[in-house]
C-alpha cells in the first residue's frame, strides 16, 4: 500500500471513531433543551467532518484528475497547474490545508472554471435551486395532501381511482422523461410556456411540475392510507356521534393526525427534491447548484465536489432538525428533550 493509502486510512478511521463516540454519547436520555441542541450541533459538525474525509478519500482514489484531457498536456504545463492549485503537495497536507480553509468558510477556487470560487458558485446557484425546490415542495405538499384526502374520503369511487392512477404514473415516470414530455407538449406543441431558462414566472412552471410529480404522488398515497386509518379510529366516531359537521371532523380532527407521516417524510422529501433538481435543472437550463454537483465529478473538480457535498450535507442536516422541531410542535406525544415544565 502506498503512503497515500495509509494517510487515507488513518484519516478515515480517526473520523469514524470520533463520530461513533459522539453518537454513543448523544443517545443519552434526559437531556435539557440546551444540551440537546448543543449535542446535535456537535454531532452534525463531526458528521460533516466525516463526510469531508470520505469524499476527499474517494475523490482522490478514483482515476483521473482535473487536468486530464484527451490531448495530453506537456509535463511542464501540468506541473505549473499542479503547483498553482497545490496538487503536488502530499495528500495529508492538501487535506489539512482544505480543513483549515473550510473552518474559515473558504471553500477554495474551482480548478476547472478559472477565477470562480466555490463560494461564489454556491452563492449564485443555491438561491435558484432553493426557489425552484420551495415551489416544488409547496406544490407537492398542497396537491398531495388534497388529493390524498379526497381519495380517502371517496374510497373506491371514481375520484379515488383517478387520484391513485395518476399517483402511480407520477411515481413511476422518471423526472427526466416527464420533463421532456412537458417541454414537448407545452413549449413545443402548444407553445404556451417557454421551453427553458430561468427568470420569469412562466419559466418556473414546467420545472416545478416535473420536480413535484414524484413527491406529490408519494404524499397522496401516504395521506390516503393514513387518512383511511385515522377515519376508523374511535375519536372520529365520537366526533361524528357528537354531531360535528363533516368538514369540521376532517379538517380539525382527522387531518392533523393523518398528515403526521407526511411530516416524517419531509426530510427525505427535501432530499428527493434536491437530487431530483440535478436532472430537471439540466433539462430546463436552470442555473442552479444541481449541475455543479454532477459536472464537478466528471471534471474531477476537487474543490467543487467537496464544497457542494459539504453544503448539501449541512443543508440536509439543518432541514432534518427543522423537521424534528415541527414534529414536536404538532404531536405532543413526541419528545426530543425534557422540557423544563416537566
Amino acid at each position: 500500500m502506498s503512503e497515500n493509502s495509509y494517510t487515507f486510512l488513518i484519516m478515515l478511521i480517526l473520523s469514524i471513531c470520533f463520530y461513533i463516540f459522539m453518537f454513543i454519547d448523544v443517545s443519552r436520555k434526559g437531556d435539557s433543551q440546551m444540551g440537546y441542541f448543543l449535542r446535535r450541533a456537535l454531532t452534525s459538525l463531526l458528521a460533516l467532518w466525516l463526510i469531508v474525509t470520505i469524499t476527499f478519500t474517494i475523490m482522490h482514489l478514483i482515476p483521473g484528475g482535473p487536468f486530464a484531457s484527451e490531448k495530453k498536456l506537456p509535463d511542464a504545463i501540468l506541473r505549473n497547474l499542479e503547483q498553482r492549485y497545490h496538487l503536488n503537495d502530499p495528500l495529508y497536507k492538501q487535506y489539512a490545508g482544505y480543513l483549515i480553509n473550510l473552518l474559515q468558510g473558504d471553500l477554495g477556487p474551482s480548478f476547472k472554471y478559472e477565477n470562480r470560487t466555490v463560494n461564489s458558485i454556491i452563492r449564485e446557484g443555491f438561491p435558484v435551486s432553493a426557489a425552484l425546490g420551495s415551489l416544488a415542495i409547496v406544490l407537492s405538499l398542497s396537491a398531495g395532501i388534497l388529493a390524498g384526502t379526497v381519495s380517502a374520503l371517496r374510497q373506491k369511487r371514481w375520484q379515488d381511482y383517478t387520484v391513485m392512477t395518476m399517483a402511480t404514473f407520477g411515481f413511476s415516470i422518471p423526472s427526466f422523461i416527464l420533463a421532456g414530455l412537458l417541454m414537448y407538449v407545452f413549449a413545443y406543441k402548444l407553445r404556451v410556456l417557454p421551453s427553458a431558462l430561468w427568470g420569469a414566472w412562466q419559466q418556473a412552471v414546467l420545472p416545478t411540475l416535473a420536480l413535484a410529480a414524484l413527491p406529490t404522488a408519494f404524499i397522496a398515497r401516504l395521506v390516503r392510507s393514513s387518512m383511511l386509518e385515522v377515519l376508523r379510529l374511535d375519536y372520529i366516531r365520537t366526533a361524528r356521534a357528537k354531531g360535528l359537521s363533516e368538514s369540521n371532523i376532517i379538517l380539525r380532527h382527522a387531518l392533523p393526525n393523518a398528515i403526521l407521516p407526511v411530516v416524517t417524510y419531509s426530510g427525505p422529501l427535501i432530499a428527493a427534491i434536491l437530487t431530483g433538481s440535478f436532472v430537471v435543472e439540466f433539462i430546463f437550463a436552470i442555473p442552479g447548484l444541481g449541475r455543479w454537483f454532477v459536472q464537478s465529478i466528471t471534471n474531477r473538480d476537487y474543490t467543487v465536489i467537496l464544497g457542494v457535498t459539504i453544503f448539501y450535507s449541512a443543508f440536509l442536516m439543518l432541514m432534518n432538525l427543522i423537521v424534528d422541531l415541527i414534529y414536536i410542535a404538532i404531536d405532543p406525544r413526541i419528545k426530543l428533550f425534557d422540557s423544563k415544565e416537566v
Partner: protein, 479 residues
C-alpha cells in the same frame, strides 16, 4: 466549445479566418517572414481597444509572455512553444527575457521561432495568442468574469454575463473593422442540454445552435436549417501493440480491413461523415495549395479476402484461437453504437469475438494513458491547420501516442519535416510518414467528423471555422 465562440467575438488576433477559411490580416495589417522561416515581423494597424486606447505591439508581448508565465499555468501555453525560449521559460528552465518576442516599436512585433514552423501564422488566429488588456489583467483578478472590466478588441463587447444562462454582446464601436460588423446585439445562451437547445431553436428562441442532437439529424436532413460543415477531426481506434495479438501487424491490418466504414457513416452516424482510409483528415493544404488528403488519396482499403488471409497467417484461421480482447470507450450512446457495429462486423467477417467495455470519461482517459486496454476508441482534433498536427502524434513515446508503437524511420521523417520551411520537402516527408503509419496500422481510422450546426434561414454569414467547434459572428446578420 462555447468559450471559443465567445472569445472570438470579443477579441481579434493578429490574423483572423475569413468566410473562405483563409487567414486574413486583422490587428496586423501585414507581415514578413524571413527566408529561413524563423523570423516573423508583424506590422500592426491603427487599431484600438474597446476603451479607445491604441493597441500596441507591447500588448502582444505582454499577453504572450503572460500565457507562458509558469504562474499563469495556462493549459494552452504549448501553442507558443514554437517561439524561441518559450518552452524553457514555461517549464522554469529559462528566463522571461530570453523569450524571442519583441516590440521593435509601438506598431512592430517581431517573433523568432525555434524551428521553421509554417503553421505558426495560423496559430495567431487562435485565441491563446489573442492580446489581453494589460491594466484590466493587473488590476483585477476577476476581470474576465466582470463585464464592466472586460476590455477586448474584437467586433463585439460584453454587456452582461449571467453565469450558466446568457451572455449579452453589443457591437464594439472602437473595433478597427466596425464598418463590416452588421449585428448590433448578440445574445449567447449557455445551455448544457443539446436537446433543450434544439427545442429552443425549433420554437424560434434561437437563430443558431452549435451541435445538433444525434437523433434529430436524420429528420433534419432535408431542412435548409441543418448546416453540415466539414471538420478536420478523425475518429479512430488505437491498438495496444504491446499486447497479444495486437503486437502482430497482420492482425491489426486484418481488423482494419474487415469493417464496413460506409455502412457506419450512412446508417449509424448519418451526419454526412466521411469514411476514413488514412489518418490525416480532409481540409489541409499541401505545397501546391491542394487538399493534402485528396492528393495523397486512400492509403488502405477494405478487403475481406485479404483480411482473412492475414488473420490466418497470424495464426488465427477463421478467427480460431483469437485471444480475448475488449474495445474500451467512454460511456456515450454514439461510441456504444459504433462499437457494437464494429463488434458485429468482426464477428461476421472474421469470426472473432471482442467484448465491449464502457467506462466513465476520466477512467477511460486514465486507462488509455496507462496502456491498460486492448483496443480503445479515440479522436483527434488538430491544434493548427497543418497535417503535422496529426503526424507527430505517433513519434516513438509521443505524449499522445498511447499505442506503444514506434518506428525510427517514422521519427526521422517527422524530424525532417519539422526542420525545414520548404513546403515541398515537408509535405513529402509527411506523406511518407503517413504511409508508414497506415502500413503498420497501430491505429485504425474509422471516419472523419463533420461539424453540424443549426441555423435559421434568415441568419446569414455565420462563419464556422474548419477546426475547433466554434462560430464567428463578425460578419453575421439577420434578414
Amino acid at each position: 466549445m462555447p468559450e471559443g465562440t465567445i472569445i472570438l467575438q470579443l477579441f481579434d488576433g493578429l490574423t483572423r479566418y475569413d468566410e473562405n477559411q483563409e487567414i486574413k490580416p486583422a490587428i496586423a495589417e501585414s507581415w514578413q517572414i524571413s527566408t529561413d522561416g524563423l523570423i516573423y515581423t508583424f506590422k500592426l494597424r491603427d487599431a484600438k481597444w474597446g476603451n479607445g486606447e491604441p493597441i500596441k505591439a507591447q500588448d502582444f508581448v505582454f499577453s504572450w509572455l503572460r500565457v507562458l508565465a509558469p504562474e499563469t499555468a495556462s493549459e494552452y501555453a504549448y501553442q507558443l512553444f514554437y517561439v524561441k525560449g518559450a518552452e524553457d521559460y514555461n517549464s522554469g528552465k529559462g528566463k522571461k527575457e530570453d523569450v524571442a518576442i519583441k516590440a521593435i516599436d509601438d506598431k512592430t512585433l517581431q517573433v523568432t521561432l525555434e524551428k521553421p514552423t509554417p503553421q505558426f501564422l495560423g496559430l495567431t488566429a487562435f485565441y491563446t495568442l489573442f492580446p489581453v488588456y494589460e491594466k484590466s489583467v493587473q488590476d483585477n483578478d476577476n476581470w474576465f468574469t466582470d463585464p464592466a472590466k472586460y476590455i477586448g478588441n474584437g467586433p463585439f463587447k460584453m454587456v452582461s454575463w449571467e453565469h450558466n444562462q446568457k451572455i449579452v454582446l453589443e457591437k464594439n464601436p472602437n473595433y478597427w473593422d466596425a464598418a463590416k460588423v452588421r449585428l448590433n446585439k448578440l445574445e449567447i445562451y449557455l445551455i448544457d442540454s443539446v436537446d433543450t437547445g434544439f427545442n429552443m431553436f425549433k420554437t424560434g428562441q434561437l437563430d443558431f445552435q452549435e451541435e445538433v442532437p444525434v437523433q434529430e439529424i436524420t429528420a433534419m436532413r432535408e431542412s435548409k436549417e441543418l448546416q453540415i460543415a466539414p471538420d478536420t477531426s478523425i475518429y479512430f481506434y488505437r491498438f495496444n501493440v504491446t499486447r497479444k495479438p495486437f503486437d502482430d501487424v497482420r492482425v491489426r491490418k486484418a481488423l482494419a480491413m474487415a469493417i464496413d466504414r460506409k455502412q457506419l457513416t450512412d446508417n449509424v452516424l448519418m451526419a454526412g461523415e466521411k469514411p476514413a482510409f488514412a489518418f490525416v483528415p480532409f481540409g489541409f493544404k499541401d505545397e501546391g495549395g491542394k487538399d493534402f488528403r485528396q492528393t495523397s488519396g486512400n492509403l488502405f482499403e477494405e478487403n475481406l479476402t485479404e483480411a482473412k488471409k492475414l488473420l490466418a497467417e497470424a495464426g488465427y484461421p477463421e478467427g480460431k484461437g483469437f485471444p480475448k480482447a475488449a474495445i474500451l470507450f467512454n460511456t456515450s450512446e454514439n461510441h456504444m453504437k459504433i462499437a457494437e457495429a464494429i463488434q458485429q462486423m468482426w464477428k461476421n467477417n472474421l469470426g472473432i469475438e471482442v467484448s465491449l467495455e464502457s467506462t466513465e470519461w476520466q477512467v477511460y482517459m486514465d486507462r488509455e494513458e496507462s496502456g491498460d486496454y486492448d483496443i480503445a476508441r479515440a479522436a483527434w482534433t488538430p491544434d493548427y491547420l497543418d497535417p503535422m498536427s496529426f503526424i507527430d502524434l505517433f513519434v516513438t513515446d509521443g505524449g499522445n501516442n498511447y499505442t506503444g508503437w514506434g518506428k525510427a524511420a517514422y521519427d526521422a521523417l517527422v524530424d525532417e519535416a519539422n526542420s525545414t520551411s520548404d513546403q515541398k520537402i515537408r509535405m513529402e516527408a509527411m506523406r511518407k510518414a503517413e504511409m508508414i503509419l497506415m502500413d503498420e496500422m497501430p491505429v485504425m481510422p474509422i471516419y472523419f467528423y463533420t461539424n453540424a450546426n443549426l441555423i435559421k434561414e434568415s441568419a446569414k454569414k455565420v462563419i464556422v471555422p474548419p477546426f475547433g467547434v466554434f462560430a464567428d459572428f463578425k460578419y453575421a446578420y439577420v434578414e
